[in-house]
């Protein structure tokens, strides 16, 4: 019983981590069709910014986290205008340009020597909580709560605010949205900035579980891609379901088979879903396109 409870609890935590890391990438792609493959670079950048404000300038934790999110949003705006806009609507060029920007950021940090154990963030919530016979650090539970809250917030944003509706309109039918006065550059800028800010939120919540390690930037990109492909980009519920599936599966597999299996599962899930259900488990876009 303890074994099952342990796997379920850690699986839930892992699902929350996956959801947080994927939300930014998925929101940007879902709202404006921009595949922002610099997501992993922004994720680690905001971790370093938060670390710098917290450890070097001694800002309060919450303020340092907010600083990391703000810088990420600004980087998102710059990314759109300097990297994405010149190749806008050339999908392959967008992928290559953003991927190159992300790799450049990560490898710059490596070149700067930001690779030691000093680069760590303290937990947002200290201490541990015992549920049944399983003890888990309180910060992991905070990550679950934050993921749930952020998921709900985004669902509300997309349906109840003018900006959210404009973004969704642009994603669903660009020409109609343009004819109704929605400005493409504004929408795209907001979507990349919002996605980058969400990457930063994930960073300040997830990175305290480990280190600010440059390789986590590449991992974040893989995770974001896996959750988005499996869940589809149209509905937040799809992302939640994908995160739960992948989170539970990876934790169970790493306990039963060994830690190496988690990355295999992410990659296998991408291949399997693309082959069987290209729109994702709750997505219908591809099916509709094929029907039309």
């Amino acid at each position: 019983m303890t074994e099952v409870l342990s796997v379920l609890l850690y699986g839930l935590v892992q699902a929350a981590i996956l959801l947080l890391v994927a939300l930014g990438f998925s929101v940007t792609f879902g709202l404006s069709g921009i595949p922002n493959f610099a997501h992993g670079g922004v994720y680690i950048l905001s971790g370093f910014v938060c670390w710098y404000l917290l450890r070097q300038l001694a800002w309060p934790h919450l303020l340092a986290a907010a600083g990391g999110v703000a810088v990420a949003a600004v980087v998102g705006v710059l990314l759109y205008w300097l990297v994405i806009r010149p190749v806008r609507r050339l999908v392959l060029a967008e992928v290559i340009a953003t991927f190159a920007a992300g790799v450049a950021m990560l490898e710059l940090f490596r070149w700067m020597g930001l690779v030691t154990y000093d680069f760590n963030l303290p937990p947002v919530v200290a201490g541990s909580v015992t549920l049944g016979e399983v003890t888990v650090d309180a910060h992991r539970l905070a990550v679950v709560a934050a993921a749930a809250g952020l998921g709900l917030l985004l669902w509300w944003f997309g349906r109840a605010t003018r900006t959210g509706l404009a973004l969704r309109a642009m994603a669903q039918e660009e020409y109609t949205a343009l004819s109704l006065g929605v400005r493409e550059d504004v929408v795209a800028t907001v979507s990349v900035a919002l996605g980058s800010a969400l990457a930063a939120v994930a960073a300040v919540l997830v990175l305290p579980l480990g280190l600010i390690s440059i390789n986590l930037g590449y991992d974040a990109m893989l995770v974001a891609l896996a959750v988005t492909v499996v869940g589809g980009t149209e509905r937040t519920a799809g992302l939640v379901l994908a995160a739960l599936l992948l989170g539970m599966t990876t934790v169970a597999a790493s306990v039963v088979l060994g830690p190496h299996w988690s990355e295999v599962i992410y990659l296998a899930a991408i291949v399997a879903v693309l082959a069987v259900r290209p729109s994702g488990i709750l997505g219908r876009l591809k099916e509709l396109e094929e029907r039309v």
């Binding site: 303890t2 280190l211 934790v251 790493s254 060994g258 190496h260």
Partner: protein, 378 residues
């Protein structure tokens, strides 16, 4: 590299190295192979080595390969360029096997750092002591998926089963991993009492934070490179408390039975500052510092820079260093044991609040006995 530079500066301050009738200063030239980083291919590291050999033409190489996989591949390159080469970090036992296979071809290569079988043997001795003293029987290995760590854990698994331990699991993580929750879960469900980590990557310290966060009733005994420096207590917010940490070779700790380790720490602190001394890592600084002296002494005895004669003199080395007595066996490996007057030694210390490192192994250097956390063993 700082340990190497310290030794070079000390030698130059005394007039340099006597080559025949002439005294010549030592000069350090270096190249970063980046092989300690995840995902760096071996051929990139070899290309860097060859660039150093062809462009800077060093008379000897110290420190050498970081990763065992690179060391094995580099042996043929070094043999081709005929340069005395004293490696101080890479730990694979395959190095000695390779030298035994062709002693003439590989006559330029030596190792001053600890070899993983010595490390595993020392770890086994300490684990055996803990088992008999505290009545524990359930052990779990967590290690980096690299050659030396796999060799160490492979040896320990066989030993543990023969010694009556129940091996809960043996978990391998790729270089760069930061999530060890699978092992935390396995430790809980498998009722692990002794957790043995074997890692040389900066990210591995996170394991200690995750074990502490889950409040696992386990004792941690092993090697986590970022948990060696005196600054680790603060960096990991006390999560290192109680860990029995092996130090591959003396260097980051001044040990009274090793006078040169006391000198090394004092000189290092004076040259680079106390903060830098406190951050010395647990694998490399001591033998790297000693390697410069070994090479310099060999050149002086040879009276020439001819690589064959220098290598022959390195082979005959018998001197006292930071790591203890330095002598090479027939496979060009410095002999490690428990008596610093006879061999080089490796150490283990236990982290105790409020951030003290108390030496607990070997017996001759121990300041106290190992204490297990409450609830573990008798």
């Amino acid at each position: 590299m700082r340990a190497v530079q310290l030794a070079v500066d000390e030698i130059n301050a005394r007039g340099g190295v006597r080559v025949g009738a002439v005294r010549r200063p030592l000069q350090v030239v270096s190249i970063d192979t980046r092989e300690h980083e995840p995902g760096i291919p071996i051929h990139d590291a070899l290309a860097a080595l060859e660039k150093l050999l062809t462009e800077r033409r060093p008379h000897a190489i110290v420190v050498g390969a970081f990763r065992s996989e690179v060391l094995l591949a580099a042996m043929d390159v070094v043999a081709r360029y005929r340069v005395p080469y004293v490696v101080t970090i890479a730990m694979t036992p395959a190095f000695e096997a390779r030298i035994a296979s062709d002693p003439v071809k590989y006559r330029y290569l030596f190792r001053m750092g600890l070899q993983s079988e010595y490390f595993a043997g020392n770890l086994a001795r300490v684990l055996g002591y803990i088992k008999s003293r505290h009545g524990v029987s359930r052990i779990q290995f967590v290690h980096q998926d690299v050659l030396w760590a796999k060799a160490t854990v492979g040896f320990l698994e066989v030993w543990a089963r023969q010694a009556g331990w129940t091996v809960v699991s043996s978990d391998a993580y790729p270089t760069g991993a930061t999530d060890f929750s699978a092992s935390v879960l396995r430790a809980r469900t498998g009722r692990t009492q002794i957790l043995v980590p074997v890692f040389d990557m900066p990210q591995s310290g996170v394991l200690l934070k995750q074990v502490k966060g889950a409040q696992l009733p386990v004792a941690v005994v092993g090697f986590i490179s970022p948990a060696v420096p005196a600054t680790a207590w603060q960096a990991f917010e006390g999560a290192v408390d109680g860990m029995v940490q092996f130090v591959a070779e003396p260097g980051p700790l001044a040990v009274r039975v090793l006078p040169k380790s006391v000198h090394f720490n004092r000189a290092y602190g004076q040259k680079y500052g106390e903060e830098a001394r406190l951050r010395l890592s647990g694998h490399g600084p001591g033998p790297s510092y000693d390697a410069v002296y070994v090479v310099a002494a060999a050149i002086e005895r040879a009276g020439t820079l001819d690589p064959d004669r220098v290598a022959e003199e390195i082979r005959k080395t018998d001197t006292e260093g930071v790591i203890g007595r330095i002598r090479f066996n027939e496979k060009h490996q410095v002999v490690y044991g428990g008596l610093p007057s006879e061999t080089a030694i490796s150490l283990a210390f236990q982290w105790r609040a409020p951030g003290r490192r108390v030496v607990v192994f070997p017996e001759l250097a121990a300041e106290d006995e190992i204490r297990l956390p409450a609830g573990v063993g008798r």
